[in-house]
Amino acid sequence: MAELPEIVRQRLAQQAGGGHPDPDLLAAFAEGSLLARERTQVLAHLGVCAACRQVVWLALPQTPAPQAASAPATSSWLRWPVLRWGAAAAAVVIVATAVMLRMPQRKSPGFDERGIAPKQELSVPASAPPETEAKTGELAAPQPEKKAAAAARADRDKDKEAARHKLAAKSEAGIQAGAVQAEAYQAAEQLARKPAPPAIQVSGGQQAALDQLQQQRGQATQEFRQQSVTAAGQAAPPDLQAQNQIVAQQARPAPQAAPPPQARDKVVFGARAEQQRAMPAKDSAAMLHTQLRRTAVAPRWRVSSAGNLERSADSGATWHMVTVGQPANFRAVSAVGDDVWAAGAAGALFHSSDGGQTWTRVFPRSGEIALTSDIVRVEFTGALHGVLITASGETWATSDGGRTWAVRHD
């Protein structure tokens, strides 16, 4: 660290301030709730007043005890850098093992990882060939005969299997896709009652494409499961629940048809696939890899007792303070993927849509009413839907990503 010439130190210490700011201003300064003009004034005074600086330092709340202090002593090779890379390597091995374990099951082209026939008729992106679109239109109609015909056609038409799987992996999103998936499940149930189909002869190129597709889908399934673990403890997103209900309703043309057990998985994954709908097919695998890698090291967020926003990129082992560009005393944080919402004192609400890289101040208003009280809780269940709870018992809800708000007084 640089040294300060002694003469500078001397002159710096000699210039004492005149009057002193009151405790309100000092407390507000320490909590970051001063107006910009006042903050500059207080800083200018603190720069020349050792007594007020001392008061500010003494009044600072205690920092949380470092985690290392309570951690047992570890041997030298179990130090953090080793553990960090070891954890990353272990995660890669686990994912690779899971993918490889699932691959033999997928070698049988007539069945997916659950032993169910693949979803053969799914909605397709706009760029899909007209032939596929026509088939999708046929099978979107909830008629049992067409479902059976679709299953039979799947057995016959082996040359188109890989292409359909690729389309299925990209278009598992949305309610329409969910409905078609449900029909495919029903068709699969019918197929499952039949004896196992004979081995299918495919060409080398087709087999390679099929393997690539199976690997992508296996990774996608792993990704979702990791997301489910990360999101444990949080209520199921209402928008997804609603989608599930719609999917379940559309998936049950007959009352006795039970919804597929993993329908929620598909919908959640489909929501991500919906964002990728416009992407070229060749980028799909890279996108999945990126998302998988991002999920494997999904950052955790918290608010320290001092009101700072902190992020951990290593599952909570170490935490680093995150600044939002403006002083704020945070009370709560909610993160859904890359969307992070941090809220705190005096209605401070900040949103980042890129995982905390950039932040935008959000000023919730409902008609003439502005949110100015302390936000003690923030819960977002998706990019659009979220709720803020204030210290005064108000509930502010948004369903459009914070553009408009509705307030409810409890």
Partner: protein
Amino acid sequence: MIWYHPAIVMSGAPEPAASAGAAPALSGCEALLGELFERSHAAGFGFSREQFTRVLEGIARKYLPAGAGAEQAWELLSGLRVQELALARACAAGNERAWEEFLTRYRARLFEAALAIAHDDAAARELANSLYGDLYGAAARDGRRVSKLDSYTGRGSLEGWLRTVLAQEFVNQYRSRRRLVSLEEQEEAGAQFAAPAAEPAAPADPRLNAATDEALAALDPEDRFILAAYFLDRRTLAEIARLLRVHESTVSRRVEKITSALRKRIRDALAARGMSRRQAEEALQTDVRDLGVDVRARLAQETPGPAFPCQWQATGKRKNE
């Protein structure tokens, strides 16, 4: 902005007198005033809307510059912690329910804060009890009980305000006790074995003082605060970063940048005063040798920090370093 002058003595400090000028315009804030009254739950403590509005007007008068518009008033008022403000003012007015709530919420925190400041259980209790007296209004003025809570304006949290008041009280107690140290205590502290006072340091070149003052005056307020906190108060980068709400590495970079920029400014100022670059550099370096003893004495006098029982003082190093 109202500043207390000249000391930081806050015991029984009354609400500062209202500015002589007219009250800031709150005419465009009627809706906000009503909303703040609702949000504060002041009615639960027996305040009418008019009474609470008068409190808010007093706060606006205290902090808003003369001629401030409705927009500035809205910005100030909307950032107030009105719930805690209502609680504090109700306590000051002697509302029993408010006191019960205050004690329930802040009694333990107050003692914890006192302990964190005093680092001693007995001293912490004494400090907290002393503040309780001031908060309750033990001191009467003109036959009227004056509570320190009456001066809380809701700019920061009530807990932060209590911590700040405790810290000020502690600093005041420390200063008053330091003036009353007995001869025996001085001997116990080894003062009789202290080395004789050093020879008065050679006065620095007046050009150097002027150049340094000029460079310091040109500093940004935050830069100057960082310099003072790091080099005078010997605070850690982490502590400074926490207070300024930036990352620790940012403070580290800024210290480096400010220091080098300051040196350059002083050299330039000395050059403008007729010194060669080499002479200027020598003046900066020579000063360290010549003024070392005097500077330490001045720092000890000006900066009460090292006398407080902080962890880093035991080792003479900053925490985390």
